[in-house]
């Protein structure tokens, strides 16, 4: 950055707001011009979650493993399901899901918790949800450590070249996470119970997505209830979990076509979410 300041020296503010296209453009310009602020916010987030406890970072590694143990006990011992190498099967879904719920769970409060700031200084509020969505990435990255340990120690026969596609699948997931976080963070300002609601929505979402079970089960549902089955297949996390599982569990190429469609759809969603966010942004300082 060469200029001394990232904010314009003069401004004009009036009741007349730009149209949808102008608002959307403004939002993306905000993100680009304030990327250093976003970086700082992400770093601050990491410092906080890691610095407090000596085991801070270690927990990021242990957490998904413990969750895996819970589901392994539940599904193989209690429900008596037979799925070969179930631990790695479930782990390949836990990892991305923890990232998503973490980002949405933090993101939904990102605007509300910055109440004091919003009332005291002028800055593009879009940086708040964007940075919460970004901080989740490190959590995901740390989860790759137990994944590699699991693969190398217990399932070396499942290691394949397709593991290298994980970052790409992760990128598509990030594209999908952004509009969700942007939308819920701004809605939570006006309806303070969105945060509560989201917890339950996320739980339901997890059970409706092929995380605990495979896509085969959804295909069975489709035979009896075509509509429900089709909706379940359209679920972005059906696409994502299947892709992760192809790369990690089955050692085959993910379905690039569906990932590409999801990426494009996410971008469209992001544009809509951005428009909504920019439209309601002026009201934040008044409502909070």
């Amino acid at each position: 950055m060469t200029s001394a300041s990232e904010v314009p020296a003069s401004f004009r503010s009036s009741a007349v707001r730009p149209g949808p296209v102008g608002l959307i453009r403004e939002g993306f310009v905000d993100i680009l011009s304030r990327r250093r602020l976003i970086r700082y916010l992400v770093q601050a987030d990491l410092k906080k979650s890691g610095a407090d406890t000596l085991l801070g970072n270690i927990w990021w590694v242990i957490d998904p493993l413990l969750q895996m143990v819970v589901y392994v006990v539940l599904v193989t011992l209690i429900f008596q399901r037979k799925q070969p190498d179930y631990p790695i099967f479930i782990f390949s879904a836990i990892l991305p899901w923890k990232w998503f719920t973490g980002s949405v769970g933090d993101g939904v409060y990102s605007v509300v918790l910055s109440e004091r700031l919003i009332k005291q200084i002028q800055f593009p509020k879009i940086v708040l949800p964007i940075s919460s969505a970004m901080s989740g990435i490190t959590n995901f990255a740390f989860g790759l450590i137990p994944l590699s340990v699991l693969m190398i120690v217990f399932y070396p026969h499942r290691i394949s070249i397709w593991l290298l596609t994980i970052p790409l699948i992760g990128f598509v997931q990030l594209l999908f996470t952004l509009p969700v976080v942007v939308a819920v963070s701004s809605s939570n300002v006006f309806y303070r119970d969105i945060g509560n609601l989201m917890r339950h929505v996320l739980r339901l979402w997890w059970y409706l997505s092929p995380g605990l079970y495979g896509v085969a089960l959804i295909l069975e549902v489709t035979k009896e209830l075509p509509l429900v089955g089709t909706l379940m297949l359209l679920n972005p996390f059906t696409i994502l979990f299947t892709a992760y599982r192809d790369a990690i569990y089955s050692g085959q190429s993910p379905d690039w076509m569906s990932l590409f469609i999801l990426a494009v759809a996410s971008l469209l969603l992001l544009v809509v979410a951005m428009w909504y966010f920019k439209r309601v942004e002026p009201a934040f300082a008044k409502v909070l």
């Binding site: 602020l37 004091r116 200084i121 300082a285």
Partner: protein, 281 residues
Amino acid sequence: MTIEHIDEGHREGPVAIEAHDLGVRYSLRFTRKTRMRTTFTNLLRPRGGETAFWALREVTFRVVQGESLAVIGPNGAGKSTLLQVLAGIIMPSTGVVEVAGHVSSLLTLGAGFDQDLSGLDNIRLAGAFLGLSEQEVERRLPGIVEYADLGPFIDVPLRTYSSGMRARLGFSIATSVEPDILLLDEVLATGDADFRVKSKARVLELVKQARAIVLVTHDMSWVTEYCNRAILLEKGRIVAEGEPSEVIAIHQEHSERRKAEKAAAGVLQLRERPAGRRRRG
């Protein structure tokens, strides 16, 4: 309502702030306590009543460079809202405001504060929020640290700070930027006596440097001492504008009258129910 123009005069120089027909409307439908349930019940059973509140209405004024404007008025008149609009924090619902130059508001006291980060990290974070570049922040860092005078505490998380220490750090950050236009909102009442003296000196320094100042205060000695113009806000409207001393006189006269009316209303209250409560801005 007619505005009492005491001294229109010809004021020369480039315009620093131009506000035309400013209005700020608050929706009473969405407050910080709104839940989805309330909206549903309102949809089913409209309760009627006011859904909006105007904190500012038809506010038009101009500040030229070199001027310092005092905004006075009773509580809830919209003074702080006006400063928020000038700082760009709140967008007007009607009208236009144009601000030529970097604005710094000492509303910023305590902003950017993250309890779990150290003092130094907080300074950097605040700098990023204010839009200062990295080099700029690093350049100002030593000065801010020195002025805040926190000793070794600068490296520990803010949650261990006393409220006085926090105020010192906030003030130090807020006053480290050299603004073209300075917005002050009753900021001098922070910290201990020593720091208050020190901070008053610092504010006066900024006042000297700034090209234009807007000050909101209840302390009339500040108004007569440092401002060369004043406006009186009442219920969101400008009711008087001009020479500080004369505007203050009108303000005092109006408050006397309100006090008398209140006393009279107090007597009436014994017989009648009080009128609807007014919202504070």
